[in-house]
Amino acid sequence: MSVIVFTLIILVGAYFAGLIGSLTGLGGGFVIIPLLTLLLHVDIHYAIGASLVSVIATSSGSAAAYVKEGITNMRLGMFLEIATTAGAMTGAIIAVYIPTNYIAILLGVILICSAIMSLRKKAEQVLKQQNGWATKLKLNSSYPTANGTVNYSVSKVGGGFVVMIFAGVLSGLLGIGSGALKVLAMDSIMRIPFKVSTTTSNFMIGVTAAASAVVYLQRGYIDPGISMPVVIGVLVGALSGSKILVHTQSSGWLRWVFAVVVVFLASQLIYNGIIGRI
């Protein structure tokens, strides 16, 4: 396969990965790693490096819009970034010592879990009860809604922090944003309103990915020939996804389609990992 054909295939694939990733809120890394490794037989280290770079591009791009709207809780994000960056550094360092087929299996398992979690019903919750640590760390905040500004409190700061370390390790190890896990921690443990937890998670993903990308960059995992079409394709795809999302509300069936696709790709990863082909 010539370089130009290889680049075009990745561009198209990355475009759809970015599009679907932004429509479902799972991010583009989920489809791009299986695409590169299973279809194009790219070494999984290069795939992870390229995916990390695309994660930084999409999360920074969309975070820019959310931050301006004032939904993102920047103090909460900054505080939890201590956990995610420390985790991401650890993940990137141990990635070298883990055989690639184990990485593929783990990625497959995480993909399936995230796809199932994306099908969950999301109820907007607002906690009013004040909590000692959250008050000390000035994490309680407010966000704008259609019915005016809503104040909310944050619970179980310690529990959320620990899950964030784990989310960081997965991000550094597998080259994904691990947004689903971050949202789960903020949503279910810290009891933060859903809109705030998704935008704050997105805000943190870029820094988390950067903390492991600096390791991958120096190890030579980020290859320009692969990263270039991946990052451009995913970013343009994510942009068109956000345009579609504004116009249509019915992304329910799309979540199901995507969940099926992800489970299929994930089982391929697990299968190839077990027989040692990756």
Binding site: I4, T7, M78, L137, I222, L235
Partner: protein, 118 residues
């Protein structure tokens, strides 16, 4: 402050993607008809594996060096965002969060050094 941070993120992404795209065009023009082979991990070409190498490559107009420059800028974008947040907390005299921002920067810095050693 929120407006400034939003602006830093947006400009960072736009500038780095444009550089990646520009480098990509040069790279494909020069190497488009070679055979793509990424089956085995063998690192990246020597001339872009150091900061000095990338800069020299950019001045020599080498596509891969220009792409890598864009990617380095992209990785630097969220880090720059943390620096700007820290400045924002300095202006608000929020000492707790100045400390937290600096701690995040320190972790990223340690990560960078550990990658160098590994």
């Amino acid at each position: 402050m929120q407006a400034v941070i939003g602006w830093v993120l947006r400009i960072g992404v736009i500038v780095s993607i444009c550089i990646v795209f520009f480098g990509g065009v040069i790279f494909l023009y020069r190497h488009g008809h070679e055979i793509a082979d990424h089956k085995k991990f063998k690192g990246i070409p020597d001339f872009i594996s150091t900061a000095g190498g990338i800069i020299n490559g950019v001045f020599a107009f080498r596509g891969q060096a220009i792409i890598q420059l864009g990617i380095v800028l992209l990785i630097a974008t969220p880090v720059l965002r943390v620096i700007f947040s820290a400045i924002g907390f300095v202006l608000e005299k929020d000492y707790l969060y100045i400390g937290i921002s600096l701690l995040v920067l320190l972790i990223i810095f340690i990560s960078m050094i550990s990658g160098h050693a590994g």
